[in-house]
Symmetry: D2
Subunit: 314 residues, 4 copies
């Protein structure tokens, strides 16, 4: 049994029209479905399943749930058992609970974030198709993001009380869901507090990541771009559309990726993440960042954290 | 049990000094070992195991064997059984048969190419290390290739006699070694002859590929570069070093990658392969190229095959 | 008095609809005028004068004339005198001879190509305007070429008869029009035959170039792109539109630029030329290419001329 | 008579060893001369005159003088006259006043900055030479800057007292030295205060620039890089060398260029400026930035000025 990748994220937004405009016009995704409750579903041009983002009207921004796709329907039974064995309650939602999605497992990570697993989502194909495809489609718009790539979840971390939901959630992802640790930040006087982790279920440097903070939340969800040049173009598109940029194009030390952090109109932090970085592998040694070089790990060029990184999230 | 990636390739070269100069100075690898028989072992800066290329003096260029690394030593027993069950003879070589490598399974693909599986190779670390690493090392030289990425093996294909070692080797990789099909070329009047395949055991578009031709051989082995800009720099480096370029920088339709085909001094075709292309996944639909668009698949810009593609290999 | 830059080129095309489609959809220019005789006028998004390409229906492809813009109307009088003093006949065409253009000087280069000089062309502005402009406009299409950059004119060169229209035209451009020599190819047993030249009236490596061949003609006209990444995108766009590419993305040794050579539907060779190359200056030493490295100069990666370079032109 | 380009800048540094290390190891220039007073002279690999940077030990950082190269020695006499006619005192320094430089005119801009003009500097050639040159040299190090590109001088501007040294210096450069205005920032209630200007004597968007502030000084001197990718590499090099970065890779709205602002060890602001931006021309309309979009003009992605831009300089 195995988890394939991040399947979708359900974001809460304050103004649906503005939100749809942002994910369509700025990020360059396409609306593929709207349901009766007013939720809007979008996908990137390079994704083949029906959607990877669900926007839900709400009073407060943030993430409702994050979902991962597993390899086969039978994996769901096995995961259900192993999650329960780990001591975490699991609810099984019938097919159709979400449009175009098969049955789902619903549970909370040790950090409290709601996660779902599913094996089936309606196949609609990429924008270039599967027979003699062009490398990119006509009609690319906005940043032209390829796909939802990963999310960074903010987890409660309090060295004084010993609460470390980063470490707890990391262990769960590894022990129960079969992810492996790719990079980590170790802090504290003895360097033994796991303050942030990047985990993979594939060969990308992160399919999910956790970072410690005062209270749980969504730090950001990231969308994939090919290259540093695409990141430049994305920043230009954001400027044209008056998007609030948090961190302009810069390299992450961690993952080696090219980043822009910015906010959707509701205040949810987005990232366009460019470049492969490297090919993660289970036998590649875990990369460790020490507390004194934490800033370098996050923002390789400035070598220091901006305050917003740890204080502004949803 | 699972195969992690291509582990190394053993190439035959006609002049060892020239060959070492090529893989060191042009490709930018580093010699990590020389054995008593005069074989030379090299690795890319971003690889953590001791070597990925073995150069062996010979009268005739080509490939002696290609090796893949599996996840765990116990996988070797399971693979040994399943390969034998498939009807292919397997020899087990003791640890140390190759320097710095544990026990190996040795067998021939249906196409006749010698393949080996191993689980252990001496860890030496990447050039940037695993604690607060820079994204690239000081002292990069030549093309600065990251790692050995994949190989394309030429397999006997004769529609008239019905011999199709492409399809046979593809089936073996899928059924026995757990690879999955990512792209394929289908030819013939009914479009039912599998003339070339690209297979993955990870999330890259190809960890191995097969293409049909008159007789078996090595079409090329490929080394990874990050970007289209790195491919330009690589072509410049080749020109400075008077390397014989077969195909200048161009996009592949298949895999979307950025390629240069060129030859080592012995005539073995090399590739620098740039860009992620896309994230391959088992549930991503197989991309199929039809015979009339085969040229476009191989060389997206010229849209036609060069004669050397199918006639020149080792 | 001084020449500012190439102003426009008048190309003969065999099928106007196909030609307009090519320059609009593939190159990404915009039609800004059509006259009563059916000529079509286009400009790039980053040009501020009304047009830089005139397409004229004809039975045979090629160039009718090439025009350069001078700094001031009074320069025309001075140039008229100096051209006549050089022994070349000049005709003065009244304003309006070409739509939106002031009076013009019309004459033939020593090579026989018709050249025109003018000081005034209707100002229409770039697509981004001049007040708080974005770096690039919304609605970019095709290759999104910035501007007409230069042309390479094929001139009669016959070492046996001593005819060298390359050298004659080069001298004229320098002595009369104030251009300066930037690069040259010297061939022949004594290396004293100027077989090709690149000349600047600005700080770009070439505002016009001449190359020797059997008979006079247009080798290519070139359109500017920013970068190697834009050249990749341009090649992708050409493939999507089934444009016949002559030379895929490659670096020129001469000028250091990034090139694609391709043909419009009538067979006129176009180039997308990317990168600044370097900043040409009158006191920068002339770069000389010797006959044995001519191929390297033209195509830095392959280091050899393709036959079409000297035999196919219009 | 005409000014060709910026010839060199004489910077005051607090620690010569640290400074040389910075300009050599980080920027990638080469020391070409040291004089008896301990001044150090450096050039970029793509420059052909002997030096473009002079480092002088001092108690306080900043710029001693900025020098421009004119086309011919006779131009110096003409400029001497026209500068004096403008009411500015000129001193003529004999050849050899600076090593390897011919006679110089020395005067102060209306802003107070010392400027020099010269026609002769010892030719040493670029690192790739002028016969069959490679596009870039072996042995590139650090950021590998091509050449000194421009400087931005801080000029006294006080709308309340009506002092505007930006406008005065701009007029001088245009009226006396033959530069032309490319871009400008207009502020004040009526938008009629010229608060910053970018001027060209060539076809680059700026050979010199002026910006208003409380007191005169050097805002930054800039070094040329080809591309956005080279800017990324430069930022990586800076991080490796612990260089203090002021503004990470970002696009300027003004000039469209790709920038990094950073400091040499003495606190002088440097810039690596990448990309051509566009081809400036005397007949290209002047680009005007209004006060409300000033931030966008300077930093296109963040759309707002950082405080250090106007307060930190030398």
């Amino acid at each position: 049994m195995s988890v394939l990748r991040i399947g979708h994220i359900n974001l809460r937004v304050l103004d649906m029209d503005e939100a749809v405009n942002h994910y369509e016009k700025v990020l360059g995704m396409d609306v593929t479905h709207r349901d009766d409750e007013g939720n809007v579903y979008l996908k990137g041009w390079d994704e083949w399943d029906k959607y990877s983002v669900i926007l839900s009207q709400a009073e407060k921004a943030g993430m409702n749930h994050i979902a991962y796709k597993v390899n086969a329907d039978t994996d769901l039974d096995a995961y259900k058992q192993s999650i329960q064995d780990y001591g975490i309650e699991v609810e099984e939602l019938p097919a159709g609970s979400l449009p175009a999605v098969g049955r789902m497992l619903k549970f909370n990570l040790p950090s409290g974030h709601e996660m779902r697993l599913y094996a089936e989502k309606e196949f609609v194909g990429t924008a270039v198709g599967s027979v003699n495809p062009d490398p990119w489609p006509d009609g690319l718009h906005g940043c032209g993001v390829h796909w939802l790539d990963h999310a960074l979840l903010m987890c409660e971390l309090n060295p004084e009380t010993g609460v470390n939901k980063v470490a707890e959630s990391t262990n769960f992802m590894i022990d129960v869901l079969g992810f492996y640790l790719v990079e980590q930040v170790m802090v504290g006087p003895d360097g033994d507090i796991q303050a942030a982790t990047w985990l993979s279920c594939s060969n990308t440097p992160h399919d999910i990541a956790f970072v410690g903070g005062p209270v749980m939340g969504l730090h950001h969800c990231a969308f994939f771009l090919d290259s540093w040049d695409d990141v430049l173009k994305a920043a230009d598109v954001m400027s044209k559309n008056r998007v609030k940029i948090d961190v302009t194009p810069q390299r992450h030390g961690i993952t080696r990726g090219y980043t822009i952090y910015f906010f959707d109109p509701s205040g949810n932090r987005n990232e366009t993440f460019g470049g492969l970085g490297y090919l993660a592998q289970p036998d590649r040694p875990v990369t460790t960042w020490t507390e004194d070089e934490l800033g370098t790990g996050i923002f390789y060029h400035t070598r220091e954290l901006v305050e917003s990184f740890t204080t502004v999230y949803t």
